[in-house]
Symmetry: C3
């Protein structure tokens, strides 16, 4: 698709600095860009790149106008404006509404006429598929589940029975919603399964990456708030609650019944213990282990720094002597004081 800068600015409700008639067709990074490209600069750190860029147009902040070598759209948040422009330049493929002949739809399921149901999709009894939903090839939507308006299930997603997915959500491939929570009781020499009779309730505008799993509740529903974004390989265990706009990077795992606040950020491969509470506005850095409730907003970390393996071996071995070392230090302090 191609747009003039004036058209893009109108769409963004922003103003143009320079020639608004310039036409752009593609987006590029500031260093790769050439004729026909638009790029964004959101940070004065890239001012030298901006000056030397060959892009046809830019999306920038007010204070960068003087340094822009070409026409520019001026906004407060260039990356947000850029995201919207990308949506115009690279419109998402939208299959025509309808049900592919190879899909298997239960007689009692209710499918909106404006929904798209892809090849080999299976929709079970009493499932409800709302308007403008897109369900790609190979997905399974279980009994009594509901998929909200304009939600997109990418190929090979599995939704178990009795789950509710909100509106404008995107769920990526191989992701599983509503598998049984991991609940067992050791009884007479073996693990007895605790039936998991809760469901999953996912809000609106939620995105979940590939190969992720949100388990159904043991008794009460697992809850994912509006605007939550989960990356690939994320696990949300039974009965967890995740507050609005919280974001979890790849591989994060939240154990059972833990409550996570709003606007939290969990960096990749972080693990959070079961039955704890993390308040709003908490950030946890990568590969940390959250082993207790966090009641104060702020940034938290665990883990050790990378080192060459030889040094690491020496230092790491000392980890097992830390308590002894601390005690020795105290003894030495005492000894020295006694000498005074």
């Amino acid at each position: 698709m191609s747009y003039s800068l004036n058209e893009l600015a109108e769409f963004l409700d922003a103003r143009v600095e320079g020639d608004g008639g310039v036409v752009v067709e593609t987006a590029a990074s500031i260093t790769d860009a050439g004729v026909g490209d638009i790029c964004y600069v959101g940070n004065r750190k890239y001012i030298a790149d901006l000056r030397e860029s060959s892009a046809s147009a830019f999306i920038i902040t007010e204070d960068l106008i003087a340094d822009s070598p070409a026409a520019a759209i001026v906004v407060e948040n260039p990356r947000a404006a850029y995201a919207k422009v990308l949506g115009l330049l690279y419109p998402e493929f939208q299959p025509a509404a309808g049900i592919e002949p190879s899909a298997v739809i239960a007689a009692s399921a209710k499918i909106s006429k404006s929904a798209y149901i892809g090849a080999n999709v299976v929709i079970e009894e009493n499932a409800i598929i709302a308007d403008d939903v897109r369900i790609d090839a190979g997905c399974v939507v279980g009994r009594d589940s509901r998929i909200g308006k304009s939600t997109h299930l990418c190929s090979n997603v599995t939704i178990y029975h009795g789950c509710v997915i909100g509106e404008y959500c995107i769920l990526h491939s191989s992701t599983v919603i509503g598998a049984d929570g991991f609940g067992f009781e050791f009884d007479q020499g073996e693990w007895l399964k605790i039936p998991q009779v809760g469901g999953v309730l996912i809000g609106n505008n939620v995105e979940i990456g590939a190969c992720s799993a949100v388990d159904r509740g043991a008794l009460n529903d697992t809850l994912i708030g509006d605007g939550v974004k989960l990356d690939n390989h994320v696990q949300i265990a039974h009965g967890v609650q995740v507050g609005q706009q919280t974001i979890m990077s790849r591989g994060v795992g939240i154990a059972g019944s833990t409550r996570i606040g709003k606007n939290c950020i969990f960096a990749g491969m972080t693990g959070v213990k079961d039955n704890i509470e993390v308040t709003d506005n908490v950030t946890v850095t990568a590969m940390s282990m959250v082993s207790k409730s966090l009641s104060e907003p702020g940034s938290y970390s665990s883990n050790t720094p990378i080192d060459d393996t030889r040094s690491w071996r020496k230092n790491s071995a000392r980890f097992r002597q830390l308590d002894e070392m601390a005690r020795k230090i105290r003894q030495l302090e005492k000894l020295i004081k006694e000498k005074d």
Copy 2:
């Protein structure tokens, strides 16, 4: 479903304290419960909640009878009894036996008349599906594989060729059994694949969560013992052996040819090295790295505690000086002794 307390007690082979005619329809947690609910209390810690609960009935231990505000079933392990009661109150959906028309079944496959084969399931040559098996939509069962009596494959599970799944197992969606183990030999500048010609042998009463992977053996089968429970995102590499009733939480990874004993508990996101041995009755706490054989039963851990990021940065940087710190402490001890 609704049951009188007497009916439930008879089912559990337990006695009722109070009015056995009370009818319950649903289960609830002790603090949420109301009329028609049954809940369990297995711990004197919740005695205040028990006293104030509005549930119609309880499952409790002998010593809690005096504190129960309503009729109760008295048992030794209330959580186990509760699990059984849940199975009655919330009976699992059981599709009628038969093969959905969209399933693709090889002529040489043998499918029990009492099995259920869901929509778009693919069963390859010579596979054997035993009595009362349930295979949900989109699953693939490879050549020469066998699925034991009453096992349930949830939607979109993949079983490769030549794998044996025992009886009364549950495998959750997107899980993969029998993918090639990760075996390569560096030869003449590139990685040469070692063909993985073993299989997978899974015992009875095994449950495996969503998005998990049990790889086939390089030469000998990968073995999962009876009663093993694996959560989501668990990895069992080629040639691993997992002993009976061992349980692994979300994200645990066991590397190749390692042998894990019986009755072990691996908390979430723990990694276990290849070619080692972990004896029976070992517990490993969350996010630990098991880098050597563990020959004594007991609890093991690694990792560092969560802290605010600012403090963590300071402390973590010192990790690289640990060996130096330990040496300094020893020098100081020496110096002080010399002064005596």
Copy 3:
């Protein structure tokens, strides 16, 4: 299949020591082997096992000839030769070329006559499937994607639109290529999605395990070099570049836009930060966190050693005092010096 040692030696372009007429049918490990088995010994460490082995034949290095109790093929790299022999003894199942009737193929897709397209596979518009490709049951290949010659997609793999997979690759089940990268911008109180308009470009001879995810680029393609081997549960984020012959074990995650060199080895469950660079020939040990660029080849580690939980608790608690401990040590040094 059965082969004489002479036949195998000819295939390997190697020589036989002893009776080349010996026939072998199966492979076994040195300690399990019996009549009809061939095994390899690549290390003098196993010399005692070799001497006592009942195998019919061996693949060994020159220096082990004297210790071999039976005929042997003599090569420089026995494990590599063994890999090739396994391919002969256990030939991989090759379905006959053709398209299963239940597959759903878009009219505009181009499928080679020598390709195999399994049951319930979905091939979308304009996809191109090259010669000798094997696509097993339940896979989805998205619009405009290309699968190179002799590549094998195992059951239930998902390839999104606009992705290119090279030749002679193997992708295991539940793996997802081309899901959206995890890119959002916080704007006016919510996370705005950055459309991910790049693709994925995977080289030749790449193997990717089960339940792994290679995300599409935000703008530029995500690149996986020739000969790269990724195990199960591996994540390659948007815009990452992985150099040739690099190998990543189970659960490794590489965050966005990071560039990984050639011939690197990442052990299991290692995490690598976004926007950094790891040079060629770097090895990272298990469960490490690579939080900065690594510009020197070599081996790197982080993490702490396993210990019994009781000791670990004591030592781990001291981690939070490390900076204080280091300062105390310096003070004590000073105090002692002052006393001199």
